[in-house]
């Protein structure tokens, strides 16, 4: 499994654990705010990085070439 996918999977699992922890247990309010502000977007970001389609190897280079050189 690609390195990026492994890292994203790890982040997804960590975010899910923290969100479930805040949902299930009674924790200080400030901690709920920290978990919701940081880990909800992180959950969405890591999920998206896992679900996004990957280009074929032969097309990869052409996709990231920036045509606007010199600006």
């Amino acid at each position: 499994m690609e390195r990026q996918t492994k890292i994203c999977l790890l982040l997804l699992v960590i975010s899910t654990i923290f969100i479930l922890y805040a949902l299930v247990f009674t924790i200080p309010i400030w901690l709920v705010y920290v978990i919701s502000i940081f880990f909800i977007p992180l959950w969405i970001l890591s999920l998206g990085l896992i679900t996004m389609a990957k280009p074929r190897e032969e097309d990869k280079e052409a996709r990231v070439e920036e045509p606007f050189t010199g600006y």
Binding site: L23, I35, E66
Partner: protein
């Protein structure tokens, strides 16, 4: 435990409702222009669809800034949901949320390396003029109610009646802000079609979907804020009606007006702010 559930539910509602309202806005614009337009659910479907599309990260992009700026946008508007619908907290935090939103627009444009993004980045600095109406509206609400806390403002209105009747020009200023953030607005200089899609141009695939998700949450939070600040504690039915009505009105306005050039956009907003601020001061003290 309940607070986290409350936050999660409100974020999901904000995303779903915001997406449907933006879809409605686009539908209204199309109908005014005698086009059938996409279905109302299209914005929501696009946001979700992009999660499965290929996302290219341009070579000239400033990584990881290019990705983290979209993450910051989501963080900012989740703070908006918490401070607004969940805890009804301070308006100053909402002002800070909006200020950081401007910064995100600026940096999203500059992080990609594209000239369209860079132009949008420069225009985002100009469009900081939209913070003037927001600041002026907050100041006037404070003069009238003596508090910057949303729950305090709601309490004031439950005793003295809605602020829309006592400081209507402040509502005009906040409506101008709403108009600025609505799609295809005459004041939307950072996302003008002359810049393709401005600061969003070089954010593809999943990042675009994430960005759209944050913007639908932003639209919901701003509509909620406008309605509770000027109409007081209203029921959910009236909240929904109000949000739909505002989306329809902004759709009409955006369909029938061209985009102003950056300088005209800034001067128009400053003029509206000045006239409404002075008018409200006169109304309060006379």
């Amino acid at each position: 435990m309940y607070l986290m559930a409350d936050i999660l539910i409100n974020v999901i509602i904000a995303f779903l409702a915001g997406s449907l309202l933006l879809g409605l806005h686009r539908k209204i614009m199309a109908r005014v222009q005698l086009r059938p337009g996409p279905p109302v659910i299209q914005y929501l479907l696009h946001s979700l669809k992009f999660f499965f599309k290929e996302s290219s990260f341009p070579k000239t992009a400033s990584m990881p800034f290019y990705v983290s700026i979209i993450f910051i946008l989501a963080v900012v508007w989740i703070v908006g949901v918490i401070v607004g619908p969940v805890t009804e907290n301070s308006l100053l935090i909402i002002f800070a949320v909006y200020a950081i939103y401007k910064i995100v627009e600026h940096n999203a444009g500059s992080s990609s390396g594209s000239p369209y993004g860079k132009m949008s980045c420069v225009r985002a600095v100009l469009s900081a003029a939209t913070e003037l109406p927001l600041f002026a509206a907050i100041a006037l609400i404070y003069f009238k109610t003596g508090t910057l806390n949303i729950s305090g403002i709601l309490m004031y209105q439950s005793i003295h009646g809605p602020l829309i009747s006592s400081i209507p020009l402040a509502a005009v200023m906040l409506f101008t802000l709403l108009l600025t953030k609505s799609p295809y607005s005459p004041f939307a200089i950072t996302k003008g079609k002359d810049l393709v899609t401005g600061f969003e141009t070089e954010h593809f695939g999943f990042l675009r979907g994430f960005l759209m998700m944050s913007e639908s949450i932003a639209w919901y939070v701003m509509l909620w804020l406008f309605l509770v600040l000027f109409f007081g504690p209203i029921s959910i039915i009236w909240l929904v009606i109000g949000m739909v009505l505002i989306s329809v009105i902004t759709g009409f306005i955006n369909a029938t007006t061209p985009m102003l050039n950056p300088n005209h956009s800034v001067m128009t907003q400053i003029t509206i702010c000045f006239v409404c601020f002075v008018g409200t001061i006169v109304m309060i003290f006379i």
